[in-house]
């Protein structure tokens, strides 16, 4: 996979939109916005209503990409690892990790930190270090 350029404007704008989504959900429903929590709530619902609101939100997040492509006139770049094994192993580990760690970057990194939750600060520090270590080892030690 190749180099990508530093895009501060898009990063700030996109980040602000993610924050606005989290604030809107707190304002109307009183809930935190975490992607893994939304998926878990649809997979293992306590009640039908609990699954339904999360499914609506997830579906809208998926449809945002075609909407953006239509509005902007260009599809956003998505360059994923070629190896299916790497995607499968990565997906399994992320699935196990969010279940034990109680959240992902949107839940811990945005909503948890915004609530000043110590658990979230620890989770974010650990998963960022672990990801940096993983990329450093796979790219620079084994040269993949």
């Amino acid at each position: 996979m190749g180099e990508t350029s530093f895009t501060p404007g898009a990063a700030l704008l996109g980040g602000a939109a993610i924050g606005a989504a989290a604030v809107l959900l707190m304002f109307t429903r009183g809930r935190v916005l975490g992607a893994s929590g939304l998926v878990a709530g649809v997979l293992f619902p306590a009640t039908r209503a609990e699954a339904a609101w999360r499914a609506v939100l997830l579906l809208a997040a998926v449809l945002a990409l075609p909407l953006w492509t239509w509005v902007s006139g260009t599809a956003p770049p998505i360059e994923a690892p070629q190896s299916p094994g790497r995607l499968v192993l990565g997906g399994l580990l992320v699935g196990l990790g969010v279940s034990w760690g109680g959240g992902c970057p949107s839940g811990h990194g945005v909503c948890g930190l915004a609530r000043a939750a110590l658990r979230s600060l620890v989770a974010v520090a650990v998963f960022l270090s672990s990801a940096v270590l993983t990329v450093t080892v796979t790219r620079h030690v084994f040269g993949g």
């Binding site: 989290a22 429903r29 998926v39 997979l43 997040a61 399994l92 196990l96 940096v132």
Partner: protein, 144 residues
């Protein structure tokens, strides 16, 4: 408000993930590649999302209750434990291998590429395995 707020929150979330580059594993992995082609964009995504959320949450909480629910429903504050730390560490390895996280993969599912679906299927499988293991353990505790 029915479900209009959920649609809007989901679209904002998905647009933010798309515009910021969280949907693009190449960009995410370069953020972790501190000792190589480092692309610091994602630090700004998190900073902007966190700032908007931290301020917005406080404004939302000042109302006393959410617009469409009886009360705020926040995750309970629990202690930092080994489960959280190991979960976050495993999450980071998966994130560093695949470059997708549970939020970023959502809009990518509509890209027409197969890689996001491979990752997402493995993610759901991982979450189901973690739940099955937890159930077995709690049954062992009851019987043993």
């Amino acid at each position: 408000m029915h479900r209009f707020d959920l649609l809007l929150a989901g679209l904002l979330f998905g647009l933010g993930l798309t515009v910021s580059g969280m949907v693009n594993p190449a960009k995410v992995l370069n953020f972790f590649d501190v000792f190589g082609h480092w692309d610091p964009s994602l630090a700004l995504v998190m900073a902007a999302a966190l700032l908007v959320t931290a301020v917005g949450y406080r404004i939302a909480w000042r109302r006393g209750r959410p617009v469409c629910a009886a009360a705020f429903d926040l995750p309970p504050r629990r202690a930092v434990d080994a489960r959280l730390v190991s979960g976050a560490a495993v999450f980071g390895v998966g994130w560093g291998l695949a470059g997708f996280c549970p939020g970023g993969v959502l809009p990518a599912l509509a890209s027409g590429q197969s890689a996001p679906w491979v990752f997402f299927t493995a993610l759901v499988t991982g979450m189901c395995i973690a739940r099955a293991v937890d159930r077995l353990r709690s049954e062992d505790k009851r019987h043993g």
